[in-house]
């Protein structure tokens, strides 16, 4: 067998393995998705985000980069599939994107399992990934699958004997960070652990060079994330600005008053404005009342011709959706432009002064 034939054989095997895994994972994700759609507001946000991206609305771009709760890699992976799904079913693009990322990790996982002596398991690598997809996909931690896929590829590359290939793992460590907020901790642990365990001074020159390339690759991916935020949100550190809200989670969801009811009771005839990713959850209300949705709201962003009375709707701090609202009462809502109009246990309504 010539070198070219061997290479083609390897490529075909890789394509076959990847294809099989893509089909299996897609099935797992699609079959479990219906249950997920009913149980989580996250799916509303994800599908709304992709729909806005497909419609080329600025809010879609902003939603894609501005929150640590929605890191860009799953969105980027979904983009190639957007033209092939109906606008009402953009969530399928998200699922296909996740499946594609996991499929890329199938062959590396198989080789990793073989290397670890799990000979029998290696054939089941696509099945293992499909199981992971079925388990995590429907939960609110679905993006972790993207993180997992990149982690598998990164670890696989890192265990190769050729220095150039080990150095390439840095790109995938960077993508781990790009896939889920948990990736930030993973990458930090990996770097610190590496230095602590191996000891920088004890490393051979070649290993130092490999580590250097890895760290530069990670830093570059991080820089891209900051750059996108600077370009789209106007602040490189926008996602970190909202981090206090991300951690401000509520307790329980039962017995909560729907916003539509609270709105009809407290602010009849007024126009709602919502800011943050949570606004995707109340799109029906916004549509019915001709309201506004923003990712990063500021009164100056309102149209100059707007003369209606506008009310900014904010989930109360104990509401589960509060973590997807990036407004911080201390900084923004404490100013004179906002007048607290009404408050329920779940929602706070502020009358907006539209003066710039």
């Amino acid at each position: 067998m010539t070198d070219g034939q061997a290479w083609r054989g390897t490529l075909l095997a890789y394509i076959r393995e990847t294809g099989v895994c893509f089909v299996l994972v897609t099935l797992a994700l699609v079959l479990t998705h219906e249950r997920a759609a009913e149980s989580s507001d996250l799916w509303l946000i994800r599908s709304g985000l992709l729909r806005d991206l497909a419609a080329e609305l600025p809010i879609g771009r902003q939603a894609a980069v501005s929150s640590l709760a929605f890191m860009p890699l799953p969105v980027v992976a979904a983009l190639p599939f957007l033209p092939f799904v109906h606008s009402a079913g953009t969530v399928y693009a998200y699922l296909y994107g996740l499946a594609a990322l996991l499929a890329l990790a199938a062959q590396p996982l198989r080789l990793l399992l073989a290397g670890w002596g799990a000979g029998r398991l290696q054939r089941a690598a696509p099945l293992l990934l499909a199981l992971a997809a079925a388990a995590l996909g429907p939960t609110e931690h679905g993006d972790l699958l993207a993180c997992l896929a990149m982690l598998i590829v990164a670890v696989f590359l890192e265990r190769r004997d050729l220095a150039e290939i080990r150095a390439l793992s840095g790109v995938f460590w960077g993508l781990v960070l790009f896939a889920h907020a948990a990736g930030i901790a993973l990458v930090a642990l990996r770097i610190i652990g590496d230095v602590a365990v191996c000891g920088w001074r004890r490393l051979r020159a070649e290993e130092k060079a490999v580590r250097w390339i890895q760290v530069v690759s990670i830093a570059y991916v991080l820089t891209i994330y900051l750059f996108l935020n600077w370009m789209i949100m106007g602040s490189a550190f926008y996602p970190v600005r909202g981090v206090s809200d991300l951690w401000r989670s509520g307790h329980g969801t039962s017995g909560r008053e729907p916003l539509a009811d609270a709105w009809a009771r407290t602010c009849p005839g007024l126009t709602p404005v919502a800011s943050g990713h949570w606004s995707y959850v109340i799109r029906p209300l916004l549509a019915a009342t001709d309201g506004y949705a923003f990712i990063d709201f500021h009164p100056a962003k309102l149209p100059v011709w707007e003369t209606r009375s506008l009310v900014l709707v904010v989930p109360a701090p104990t509401h589960p959706l509060a973590r997807f609202s990036d407004l911080r009462p201390a900084d923004t809502l404490g100013s004179a432009r906002y007048l607290r109009l009404a408050q329920t246990p779940d929602w706070i309504f502020y009358l907006i002064d539209p003066r710039p």
Partner: protein
């Protein structure tokens, strides 16, 4: 080989004319159609061009990365000195074209004398131009004794290196021929490596290209960039091309040929200013192949900016010349190469130059967008264009920087890794050179931008 033939243009297609009549008409018609389209609907035309260029950028980026990826698993060639019996080494002719290289002559001759090859099987031809008295005197001072011979190249147009090489080709008596430049320091066992590799390769492989790199790489920032670039090209891209059995643009020096086969295709095109690159594709057209030799020739990198730009302009001019020459017989080229190899030809010869020429426009456009946020620019980047454009900008550029780093890693140039991050500044220089070359193709197509060499820099064979 008839000596008179060396001064004649090669049979068509050759570089003696820049554009054929048909090509000139085609360019004119394309220009007119483009102008008409701009006049009728400027926005749609510019958008279409923009999309085409972005797709083209992405394709080229993927191509270069694929080449490098393919060469990652390249197995090192094992040199077997016993492959050829001690008294059976083939006769070797070394061609060294010299023009205004008087300072380089002593070091060159001293190094060539140290080559590990039986002296009685060696012929070293120093090709000196008739009107270059300084170099001729330097050669005479150094003492020309066998295996060295001084060959005077008569003054005639065009004044190019390939013409001198063709003169040398007529005088060559070896079985294998290699070209070295005045400032070259080939690894001492390179000839033996090439000779023994030729024994194990099929007869269709008539050329071996050794890796080139720089012994003065740490002289300044420019030489460091140059070394990074060469490490990527010769150690990554060429092995990838070889693995794909694609046409290989030769590297100007350290090309080892089976002499009879080289004669059958009449050597180099004297009108082409990158005769090496042209020869690479002509070999392929004739069903002959080039392989990569795992040995390095250490050269002296140009270390001043303006001479560097002049050198680069000649290279780009030559690549464009070569591209235009072989486009003239495109049907024949497609028949001989096949579709996949034809794509290699277009990507290597056409796309490489076009990227260098287009880069400044996109850099300026990007800068203008960031600075002004002009809506006029945004109009040409709707989301479906913006995403691949951003991918090309952010991921494509990073991938090239990363591949430069991997090149340094393979060469163990660890200290050059941080400088790889500054490669975009080097690309600016490359684009300046490219534009100079493209314009010179119109004004002075056969003018040979001579690259000056210090020739006195200390050198050592790197590990």
């Amino acid at each position: 080989m008839n000596p008179d033939l060396t001064l004649q243009p090669l049979p068509e297609p050759n570089a003696a004319t820049v554009l054929s009549r048909r090509q000139a008409i085609l360019f004119a018609v394309t220009g007119l159609l483009l102008g008409l389209a701009l006049w009728l609907n400027a926005r749609a035309t510019v958008l279409t061009l923009n999309v085409s260029f972005i797709l083209f950028y992405l394709a080229f980026c993927h191509y270069k990365l694929a080449l490098q990826f393919l060469s990652l698993r390249r197995q090192r060639q094992v040199f077997d000195p016993d492959a050829v019996p001690a008294d059976g080494w083939p006769r070797y002719t070394v061609l060294v074209p010299l023009y205004r290289e008087e300072t380089a002559v002593p070091g060159l001759l001293a190094h060539l004398r140290r080559l590990d090859y039986p002296l009685d099987r060696l012929q070293i031809l120093l090709l000196v131009e008739e009107d270059d008295s300084l170099t001729r005197e330097a050669v005479a001072r150094a003492g020309v004794t066998p295996p060295f011979e001084a060959v005077v190249v008569p003054v005639s147009q065009p004044r190019t290196k390939p013409k001198a090489c063709n003169v040398g080709l007529c005088r060559a008596t070896g079985d294998i021929l290699v070209i070295f430049d005045a400032e070259d320091r080939p690894e001492l066992d390179q000839l033996k490596k090439a000779a023994s590799l030729f024994v194990s390769l099929p007869e269709s492989v008539i050329c071996l290209q050794a890796s080139l790199n720089y012994y003065n790489r740490d002289r300044n920032w420019l030489t460091r960039f140059f070394a990074i670039e060469y490490s990527g090209w010769f150690d990554y891209c060429l092995p990838g091309l070889h693995r794909l059995d694609a046409p290989i643009p030769l590297g100007g020096t350290s090309n080892h040929f089976r002499l009879p086969a080289l004669r059958t295709i009449r050597g180099w095109d004297p009108y082409n200013v990158t005769e090496d690159c042209d020869l690479g594709i002509r070999l392929y057209r004739n069903g002959l192949r080039t392989a990569v030799l795992d040995s390095t020739t250490w050269e002296e990198a140009t270390f001043r900016t303006l001479p560097w730009i002049r050198q680069r302009s000649r290279w780009v001019k030559g690549y464009l010349q070569t591209y235009l020459v072989h486009l003239r017989a495109h049907g024949d080229l497609r028949r001989r190469l096949g579709l996949s190899k034809l794509i290699h030809f277009h990507l290597l010869f056409g796309a490489g130059c076009l990227c260098l020429l287009m880069n400044p426009f996109y850099w300026l456009l990007t800068a203008a967008w960031f600075i002004t946020g002009a809506h006029a620019i945004r109009d040409f980047f709707p989301l479906w264009v913006l995403v691949p454009a951003l991918l090309s900008f952010l991921a494509g550029n990073a991938a090239f920087v990363l591949s430069a780093m991997l090149g340094c890693l393979r060469r163990r140039y660890y200290h050059l890794l941080p400088q790889c991050l500054l490669m975009p500044f080097y690309w600016v220089l490359m684009s300046i050179g490219a534009w100079k070359g493209a314009l010179q193709l119109i004004t002075k197509p056969f003018f040979w931008e001579k690259t000056p060499h210090d020739g006195t820099t200390d050198w050592e064979v790197a590990p």
